[in-house]
Symmetry: C2
Subunit: 340 residues, 2 copies
């Protein structure tokens, strides 16, 4: 029974492919360096809905629909949907997906949710509990900003370490069976909650970097892989502040990821031109960069092997007001293009 | 690969046992009909913490610790913890479990979270992805009341259909290997989101009953089991209002569960003496009744077969304020005492 375990945190996944993925983003994301790769750009921040929360719910629903169509499936073919988001009680998932009638497991990993969904989904497919699983997540600048920080009308000033919540929803469909030309999920590493005592709720990157460090260290140790075994290593979303900390922390251990590493929060915006300070954040950040850009690049053969590390900050407004620190979590998944 | 699937929503689980379970409750729950079965009763609503949220986090942590000790394990033996709760961003889980250093997947199923955790945990163990998994959840009357409804000092009046949030945390440790005398998890049925248009946020039982109906119907259809194949069928937590609806709905289809059915929200309090109106609710309701009472009764051989159906209402304060209805979800798990 322990044949799948590579170590405490990492398991090997057999015979699971990413059948398709889709990403829906807002205008600001479409204007960024990866704009051409996303499937749908919202016409505006509402997308014909009366509240931003309903918009975000619709984004999750449409991301699943689109990924399922791209996988040549019907909604009825999908055995489970694994979904979560940043809103209180994950209402983008609950309300967004109710009309799809797919058996539903709600998950919560803050901005690591996309990789948590792909992790659990890969295990369900690999273990024969489902033939087809959709993982989905979302974030929306307007819903997150008013829930976590200030009313949008307030126009509060942002600190240099602050990140900009991505308006984006992303979904990946996981299925059993891997052939040449497929993208396989081959390893997943579950993260521990890591809290180094950062209390600044405007420095999420700094708070989450130690969790990414912990998970990446475990991943390399348990799999025996080296950074050079990957064409690309991405985190999402540490932003520029957290990404620098991560690279330095790993370097101190003799692990150099600087050559093939990037952070989805740094990739999705042109930080200077788009005035996003330390970069992007939100469940939709690594979600849309992975499902909209990276997996498509893999399908074209431009990236053969990818380590994607989703990072989340497990705080709430209440915990911050009660003087708590910011616990971080990071989940990792290995994707490989099967080319022979 | 599809050998584990009994149908669209149900999978068969092999060789997974509940190694141990533990429940920690508040005073009101200890004074109820099941009081003697719980492992720990809080001395007061704070348990030496400065906020109720910190109390609830501590309850989750101690529930895991206790279940792990009862399973004759160390924390380090636990491969994954699956945890969630009702608080915004699931902070009881995130903050409560950070010092345990167990690889962590956050889940959210509102009051169905205990069964969701047992469901996913059973699949991870059955599939060989983990040898030992802890599922944990919690709720606390004081944290839930002020988050979802009113400040406690306000003393708002409650409607007749209202339920009382259980102060309780519960954990179950799932492991591979089943022998005579063990409690095995044998089937799990994943629920779909069901929304019949109930808008009254004070009638959660009515809102969730259709989801329980949907999942129980799928469970019987896909497994071929009849109500009489179970010594006991429980939901948690429909309360008296929702439980009556469920029994009637199933009866209309020719499925009579009235002989061996109860709802954890009705079991945990003496509704009249304890003035809880329609019964108990909260993640800790089915959690503590299952982990504190039912699984212990199974271990004593008094219940041989149990269908436990966790029911959750996937709403938030924001969705209610925006005029939304209350989507429900229900996840089911079959427990069997192995007696030969």
């Amino acid at each position: 029974m322990s044949g799948r375990k590579c170590g405490k945190q990492t398991v090997k996944i057999d015979n699971v492919r990413v059948a398709a993925s889709a990403a829906i983003v807002g205008n600001k994301e479409a204007e960024g360096p990866l704009g051409e790769f996303f499937d749908i750009t919202l016409p505006d921040s509402e997308w014909n809905e009366t509240t931003w929360e309903k918009t975000e719910a619709k984004m999750q629903r449409e991301a699943v629909r689109l990924a399922v169509v791209k996988a040549n499936r019907r909604l009825d073919d999908i055995d489970r949907v694994l979904a979560g988001d940043l809103l209180n009680q994950c209402i983008s998932a609950g309300f967004g997906l109710r009309e799809l009638e797919i058996p539903f497991y709600g998950i919560y990993g803050a901005c690591s949710t996309m990789i948590e969904g792909i992790s659990i989904g890969s295990m369900l497919v690999c273990g024969g509990f489902a033939e087809s699983v959709a993982a989905v997540t979302s974030s929306h600048f307007c819903t997150a900003e008013r829930q976590y920080r200030n009313p949008l009308e307030y126009g509060g000033q942002r600190t240099p370490t602050a990140q900009w919540t991505v308006t984006g929803a992303a979904s990946a469909v996981l299925e059993s069976g891997v052939s040449v030309g497929d993208i396989a999920v081959t390893h997943i590493t579950a993260g521990k909650i890591v809290d180094m005592g950062v209390k600044d709720a405007n420095n999420m990157g700094g708070a989450m970097a130690p969790a990414a460090y912990d998970t990446i260290t475990a991943h390399f140790k348990e799999t025996g892989f080296k950074p050079s075994d990957y064409d690309m290593i991405v985190t999402g979303d540490l932003g520029s502040v957290g990404a620098d900390i991560l690279v330095e922390q790993l370097k101190a251990d003799g692990i150099d990821i600087s050559k093939n590493y990037n952070d989805c929060g740094c990739m999705i915006y042109d930080a200077e031109k788009q005035d996003v300070h330390a970069g992007g954040s939100g469940c939709g950040c690594i979600g849309s960069v992975l499902c909209g850009y990276l997996l498509k690049e893999m399908r074209k053969g431009r990236i053969k092997s990818l380590l994607a590390v989703g990072t989340g900050a497990l705080l709430s407004q209440t915990s911050t007001l009660q003087g708590e620190t910011v616990p971080g979590i990071a989940h990792a998944a290995t994707f490989r293009m099967i080319d022979k």
